[in-house]
């Protein structure tokens, strides 16, 4: 995937000027927040569950190598294969080899952000393999040649009308007079079209919400059941997952599942929770002949032991972006790579470098709503600040910002000079504000006055006035 994170500001301006996108983003504001709140309110032990979910992941991350090895053993014991991929390129070539070995022409895919991260679809197309997305949202954006704008609702940037138009364009074998007004009719049309693909596919690829060390299982949660068909019908099932998806036991996974769907969509549980362990056994009614797991690192192990380790607790619920005012304003594509919103603002610099993703951790008001709703208690604003510290140390932020900051800090560090300078500047600025007591334009404050007036200072500074008052009191006493 092309990285456009350095152009975040331009992307954002485009997003703000796009009426369809703005209409669609209104649904994020109204669709997720209330539902999550209701689900949370209905479960008195929600906060206790968050604590235990956090503890499970912290424990796992502290012993990540052990659990990954234990997991690998179990996968092998159940007849599956584990492939370690250090980089995105490694993962792509492992996957290609598996597909080539069975002469795959068509590959069905369940929803997976990791395959976005490694750019699998573009790669497949170059290699002459046809990837077919089976999740409704993913299917829609594949039709449009786009990328997901949200980690759990990939097509959330589109309005229903846009989707209807795409379907009419792409499914031109269906009667043009058909009724597609209900969202459910879009889903059933997609299902209809996809049905044939499930049987044509030689390989099915899914992601994983959890990998379970105890049993060697992978777990996915979906609402459409497409993941099940993707992994059961083809001869080969490939799970592509990053290393931090591991949890020790099935009980741990169930514990975290209780906060996952509630935080994501406000459901108690997603409609389907599917556990798969190895290929089909003789007594199984169905299942793949081959079961492969591609374990992707792609920079994650280098986050261990740093101030960014907590980010590896993330379970990709999307609550942080659902509650983020910046995400609400510009949507997911503006962030310029795979992961948007607050989690993307922390994770993306780790994965593609802060020199490219530097805007992301800066484009935050630190309002703290993401951290407040994150089921894994990830201190997102704090970690964005850590990125800003690294950028500052490397001199990556714009010179004007650095000089402005340094000039201000010069005074803030020197109380006498601060008072002296303020005692001249502030009354002058106040007078300059005139009877309107505010500015429509002020040199050097264009960022502010482009969109709003700047209130003028009232009069002299508080400290000036206070000192005069104290002096008068003193004099009155003597």
């Amino acid at each position: 995937m092309q990285i456009s994170s350095p152009a975040f500001k331009t992307n954002a301006r485009g997003a703000l000027a796009d009426p369809h996108l703005q209409e669609a983003l209104g649904h994020v504001r109204s669709g997720f927040i209330d539902k999550r709140q209701k689900a949370v309110d209905a479960l008195p032990e929600f906060d206790a569950l968050r604590e235990s979910a956090r503890a499970i992941k912290d424990h796992t991350l502290a012993h990540l190598d052990l659990y990954l090895e234990a997991y690998e053993e179990k996968v092998k014991a159940s007849g599956g294969h584990v492939h370690w991929a250090e980089t995105a390129a490694d993962a792509r070539s492992v996957i290609l080899d598996i597909c080539r070995a069975v002469g795959a022409r068509t590959v069905t895919k369940g929803k997976s952000m990791i395959t976005e991260e490694i750019g699998l679809n573009e790669f497949f197309e170059k290699e002459g393999i046809r990837p077919v997305e089976t999740d409704l949202g993913e299917y829609i954006i594949q039709l449009r040649g786009e990328h997901p704008s949200h980690i759990i609702a990939p097509a959330v940037h589109l309005t229903r009308d846009q989707v209807e138009a795409d379907f009419r364009r792409a499914h031109n074998h269906l009667p043009p007079t058909r009724d597609l007004t209900e969202p459910a009719s879009l889903l059933s049309e997609a299902r209809e079209v996809l049905r044939a693909q499930y049987f044509a596919a030689d390989v099915g690829i899914t992601g994983a919400n959890f990998l379970v060390a105890e049993t060697g299982s992978s777990i996915i949660v979906t609402n459409e059941g497409n993941g099940d068909l993707t992994q059961i019908l083809p001869r080969v099932h490939i799970v592509v997952a990053s290393i931090e998806k591991i949890v020790p036991t099935l009980a741990d996974a169930s514990q975290i599942l209780r906060v996952l769907a509630r935080s994501a969509t406000g459901q108690e549980m997603s409609v389907y929770t599917t556990v798969s362990t190895g290929p089909r056994r003789p007594e199984d009614p169905d299942g793949p002949d081959e079961y492969h797991v591609v374990l992707l690192d792609n920079g994650r192990s280098s986050m261990l032991g740093t101030e960014f380790q907590d980010m590896l607790r993330c379970i990709r619920c999307g609550a942080c972006m659902n509650h983020c005012p910046i995400y609400h304003a510009v949507g997911g594509h503006a962030y310029g790579w795979v992961y948007p919103g607050p989690m993307g603002a922390v994770l993306t610099p780790s994965l593609i470098g802060v020199d490219k993703a530097g805007h992301l951790p800066n484009a935050s008001t630190f309002c703290g709503r993401c951290e407040a709703v994150c089921p894994m208690h990830i201190p997102l604003p704090k970690m964005m600040r850590h990125w800003r510290e690294r950028e500052f140390a490397r001199g990556l932020n714009p010179a004007t910002q650095r000089y402005g900051l340094k000039a201000w800090a010069f005074f803030a560090r020197r109380p006498r000079l601060y008072r002296l300078a303020a005692s001249f500047a502030i009354p002058a600025l106040s007078a300059f504000g005139g009877a309107r007591r505010r500015f429509r334009y002020l040199p050097f404050a264009g960022g502010w006055t482009r969109h709003r007036d700047l209130p003028a200072p009232e009069s002299r500074t508080f400290l000036q006035q206070w000192r005069d008052r104290e002096t008068r009191k003193q004099e009155a006493r003597t």
Partner: protein
């Protein structure tokens, strides 16, 4: 008499740089409220800013220098009170993190434990539940982010506003959603900030209130500036001005049209 004076807690008022420079009325209102609550208030002259602009820009060196000055200036007081959730949050929650594994770690922790935001100090520490102010009309209230989420300030200002004669509180839709100020954010990403404050301004206008109150001057200046640019007829004030009965002068940015 002497006994009484001894018992009065000594409060150092951290007035905040924005109040110092732009809105001294908030400083005087804070002093009045604190004195009425039985505190002895002092305003040390060596104060400047809490250091957030540097801290949030990733400049730790300047932040530590500024924070060191703040701690030195204020650590002698029983309490340090600031009329801002954002600055009080910085002093109370972020200074300890800033000085972790630093020679001043213990000193910073002792200082931070004494810091309070004005509303929560009055209600939670001094046990104030009513003020002697009056104001006719409908006000609405914006919950600034740091105060709300870092310090749990929500009920305190509402309780005190409830005691103001003639005042009716009209709750603001999405009062807990950011106004888009975010310190330097609003000038680094002006277009995004504008989108967020537009949303806020629409909710304020829809509340039917004639006055908007909040506890942080940064957010107030942002919202006031937007409302005035839109030509809205809504007064914007810091909540302390109303509670102290010092709300008869011009509102924030409120002069001739």
């Amino acid at each position: 008499m002497r006994q009484e004076t001894l018992k009065r807690p000594r409060v150092g008022l951290f007035v905040t740089c924005l109040v110092d420079l732009f809105r001294p009325t908030v400083g005087f209102a804070s002093v009045k409220l604190l004195e009425e609550a039985g505190c002895e208030v002092e305003v040390p002259m060596a104060q400047t800013c809490c250091g957030q602009p540097a801290y949030n820009s990733g400049d730790r060196e300047d932040t530590i220098a500024i924070a060191t000055n703040t701690i030195k200036t204020f650590e002698e007081y029983d309490y340090i009170v600031a009329p801002s959730g954002s600055c009080a949050g910085m002093l109370r929650k972020h200074y300890p993190a800033l000085f972790k594994d630093h020679a001043w770690e213990a000193r910073a922790a002792a200082f931070s434990a004494k810091v309070h935001e004005l509303m929560s100090f009055l209600v939670d520490v001094m046990g104030v539940d009513a003020v002697s102010a009056a104001r006719e009309g409908n006000v609405t209230y914006h919950d600034s982010c740091s105060g709300l989420r870092e310090l749990g300030i929500r009920e305190q200002p509402r309780r005190l506003l409830g005691s103001v004669l003639g005042l009716k509180l009209k709750e603001l839709k999405d009062s807990d959603v950011c106004c888009g100020f975010g310190g330097t954010f609003c000038v680094k990403y002006p277009d995004i900030s504008n989108k967020i404050v537009e949303e806020k301004a629409a909710n304020i206008q829809a509340s039917g209130a004639d006055t908007l109150l909040a506890g942080d001057l940064g957010c107030l200046m942002n919202m006031a500036g937007k409302l005035q640019r839109q030509g809205a007829d809504i007064e914007v004030r810091h909540v302390a001005e109303v509670l102290a009965g010092m709300d008869d002068g011009p509102a924030i940015g409120g002069g001739e049209r």
